[in-house]
């Protein structure tokens, strides 16, 4: 049975655990998958017990997804090398600051036929300019990478509310395997052969979520928020076209495009913190600490990295929303100027 696909979920936060509920179930339904799924768990103590032991005996990630059972074929493995050793389908779903460290640990321990998929949203912004997370993993491990992005609030997925996601991959053959793996009656995926655009949407949307939070903090107008989502999407598309080459417009109609943007601008953390920024008078750093319990805010960082691209090409004025978010977050530009930026964006919002 050496030709079975063996899955390892690299990560066990709330999104990783929600995904484990889907993947643990699908592997038992198709002959091509090994029935047991490894899940790499960063070991920590919970009420005096090891988290990995709790997961393996009680089938629940009591720390990151309490109250929802995991399938019994999900095996928590606290040693990352051991977790990935026999696997050839690697699902990366760790906070992105841990990507480098994990890849460096498992380099050389992988099966020769291993490939991966990244569920991690955001850029890797440290040092080498904007690098897509999937590109960083691919570079570090020398494996083919796909991505899965979409309008997926982890808790809602864990509650089995219907939602969709987009699989971005380079060829349809591996895409079809991932699609089989990530399917449930409440979770539907589509395949797009343009992984770069799929992943860029997942990162850039956080800039627009910050902008949308500013807008709602300023005026609580649904009209204005809808205009921001529209103008923001157009700026995302123009940014991707400018720096990564033209993508098919159809891609933006996938879950990774408009759907994820709508969800993120309705209730994601970037939106919430930015809204509080307007009303509280506190700094973003203070709010991050107060509101996010150790998670951090991707939108401002992404805006800063995008701004480096724009500065280099002297294009800041052509991307008024991206530029305003960056300057409000890092240069004390008054938050109310986000509305001027929308007005500006509206005058040349052509695709």
């Amino acid at each position: 049975m050496a030709n079975l696909y063996k899955v390892c979920i690299v990560g066990s936060g709330n999104w990783g655990s929600a995904i484990a509920r889907i993947v643990g179930s699908t592997v038992t339904k198709f002959d091509k998958f090994d029935n047991s799924v490894n899940m790499y768990v960063y070991e920590e103590m919970v009420d005096g017990r090891k988290l990995s032991e709790i997961i393996n005996t009680e089938h629940e990630n009591v720390k990151y997804l309490p109250g929802r059972k995991l399938p019994e074929n999900i095996v928590a493995v606290p040693d990352i090398k051991e977790a990935v050793r026999n696997s050839n389908l690697l699902i990366f779903v760790v906070p992105h600051q841990f990507v480098d460290g994990i890849c460096n640990q498992i380099k050389g321990s992988l099966r020769s036929d291993a490939c991966g998929i990244s569920l991690i949203k955001g850029f890797d912004c440290r040092g080498r300019g904007i690098e897509l997370i999937s590109s960083a993993i691919s570079r570090l491990l020398n494996i083919e990478m796909s991505v899965l992005m979409g309008a997926n609030i982890a808790m809602e997925v864990a509650d089995e509310s219907f939602c969709e996601a987009t699989i971005g991959c380079k060829d349809r053959k591996i895409g079809t395997v991932w699609k089989e793996l990530f399917t449930a009656s409440y979770f539907r995926t589509s395949i797009v052969l343009d992984p770069q655009t799929v992943e860029l949407c997942g990162a850039l949307k956080n800039i627009i979520a910050v902008a949308s939070g500013f807008v709602m903090g300023l005026c609580h107008s649904d009209n204005t928020r809808a205009a921001m989502i529209r103008l923001g999407l157009i700026e995302m598309i123009r940014f991707i076209t400018e720096f990564y080459g033209e993508a098919r417009l159809e891609t933006y109609f996938e879950s990774c495009g408009i759907a994820d943007l709508i969800t993120t601008c309705s209730m994601g953390r970037n939106q919430r913190v930015a809204e509080a920024f307007v009303s509280s008078g506190k700094t973003l750093a203070e709010l991050e600490k107060e509101m996010l319990k150790g998670q951090y805010l991707q939108g401002p960082l992404t805006a800063m990295e995008a701004n480096k691209f724009l500065q280099e090409k002297n294009l800041e004025k052509d991307f008024p929303i991206f530029t305003a978010v960056y300057e409000i977050c890092y240069h004390n530009r008054p938050v109310k100027t986000i509305i001027d930026a929308m007005r500006e964006a509206s005058t040349h919002a052509k695709l």
Copy 2:
């Protein structure tokens, strides 16, 4: 000065009054417009005084837009023929059941160079299948019609929250005049030379708002609502392509497309009533009476008319969301099957 454009606003509800605030201001800024704007007011008594007199003395539509002043150059005229007689730019903004009656009254009283723009969302569904409102006006009056649609909640526009709208017209020359007229620092428009698609978006979105209301009534999941907006938009696009011919995908990125859909699915009346339908156990007719104070629900009617098109071509199964909304509203299909419809839609949501 015979070559000045003279504006008449046909209608004085809350949207007509909000628009009067913009138009009354712009006509004074451009030499090409007559400085005085007529507004047709259906006469009614308010606290013992004629509404038209109140508007002309207090410059406030105390009945439909209380608390917001109208510019003093807005002249309320209770006689529809007199209101339009010297005007050549007619802005139609009445509830759509009054369109026929008004057009029949003014037929023959118009300037030979008159043209119009419709701000009325919805279809004219009585008798002759789906007819666009602008087409009905054009047919009855033999004038060229444009449309203005977008994410525009009237009260928010009256409060001068920033928003956008889309002008759909057949040629750019008249579009440019309308664009000048409908511009304020807080109100931005773009011109699209595909008025049919612009207007169809404004009507079909109400079907999706009903579907979105059902979803929120069932599960209150932002993921699921975002999926519904995405899948609904794709069904709208496929419907327009099937029955009206292919439109440029770019049009759907305008305010009339995604932005209006997002706003309508967030807080429009179709969404609110449909959500209450799930939780209250009351009929839509009962809720319409209780919640809408004389306004009526466009989504179910539009779904019924769209369904006639689909039935004729035996395409109901290819439009699972449109079909589910129709059957839930009119044939007691269980509301929870809207989720099945999404699952179905998700499997062939290709543009």
